[in-house]
Symmetry: C2
Subunit: 238 residues, 2 copies
Amino acid sequence: MNSQHIKVACSSCNLRELCMPAGLDAGDLARIDAIVARRRKVKRRETLFRTGDPFTSLFAIRSGFFKTRVASEDGRDQVTGFQMAGEIIGLDGIVNDQHSCDAVALEDAEVCVMPFHQIEALSREVQALQRHVHQIMSREIVREHGVMLLLGSMRAEERLAAFLLNLVQRLHARGFSQSEFILRMTREEIGSYLGLTLETVSRTMSKFMSDGILDIDQRRVRIVDPEGLRRMINPPGC
Amino acid sequence: MNSQHIKVACSSCNLRELCMPAGLDAGDLARIDAIVARRRKVKRRETLFRTGDPFTSLFAIRSGFFKTRVASEDGRDQVTGFQMAGEIIGLDGIVNDQHSCDAVALEDAEVCVMPFHQIEALSREVQALQRHVHQIMSREIVREHGVMLLLGSMRAEERLAAFLLNLVQRLHARGFSQSEFILRMTREEIGSYLGLTLETVSRTMSKFMSDGILDIDQRRVRIVDPEGLRRMINPPGC
DNA sequence: CGTAGGCTTGAGAGGAATCAAGTGCGGTGG
DNA sequence: CCACCGCACTTGATTCCTCTCAAGCCTACG
């Protein structure tokens, strides 16, 4: 049993500026609280949901780190994203009332369970919530456009640089260091996300280290030369 | 001046089963009609909207064919999708109240303009519409997952086969042939979408032709061996 | 203290990019 | 109506980036 019926108020959550309640006033906030029926703990390597599971709820990540992945019939799989605290997960399930990807915790995690029919009901009444739900979905679409650009037109070094900059930027928005962080995922998972093999990811990281751009110790990464990393994406030759 | 104030009812539109009104009953249909403020013609090569344009409306494609593309600072660009009649375009603009990609007509086209604030207002009242808007956005997210799988883990032949099968399937849903169709886009645009060069697209198509899977004459494509095309995606070796 | 999983590094192969001609269709203008 | 021109496309030769296969290391964990 990994569900718990602990009541926690969005209004007192330190993620409220990043998460579901973002942009809502105090009055509406109280009504959002009612949506978060319960919280659920997910242990490392466990799935929050899998492909084919009936869709009932969206999940707001309260702590921990997830990956989402899709699989094709022939066993190939592709990591479609890494999600961290304050981000909403499960949007893929809305179309067909069942999930079309797996969400796997990369470390022990806790999520707020938000039954979707309640979100819909409340967003019919609270315009700010309706707007916010639309924005969350649109943001995901735009994010994926960026991934398509990365996968479709960038070389290995550019992909990895873009990935690391994106990661550190999102972590920084959550109060972490601008330059130092711990990778929650393996080289293989990074590779899957970036359309590269784990060897290429490893080699590219080693190159960044010998170039003096990064300092890497296992999963610990320190960005020594942020400008150099940004230059990797927009090659000086262009 | 490429805007026209022609009033056309969704209720009498032959795309109503595929488009915005899908799944709505007769009563709600009438209310949707009110949303489609006007229609707009877009000539071949013209843009419906560009990156940075203020976002005001979603567009339902009534006729014609579009591509959407994103550009990075250094001039690279990536085709993020091809859209045909009945599909909704412009969802990228919701997050930041401005568009983050370009929509370009690949042939003379006509779209129904649906002011987004009106969609929001009506979907607060009509639950079926609310549900449908959510589904449209979720469908786009899931579609992009599929593209990420394609770009991240497939080889050139697999990508092209998946692309052609997807195209013919969508065309078939609109009453066109299951086996024969006209490509509305250039080899270069296909290549951009699939993360390949135009030469590789051309070579791969030639190979499919010499394998007896396709019959190609310029933009005209006939799928001779649909099963063979499907086998390209799931290689027998797996 | 042993082991397994994650990671690094090397060597070689291969698939797609790049560079380079050349073809042919469609549109334009004489 | 026909000739010319440009753009899209095809095809070939070569390069190169990344994958694949392989070996060994390190570290965390039991």
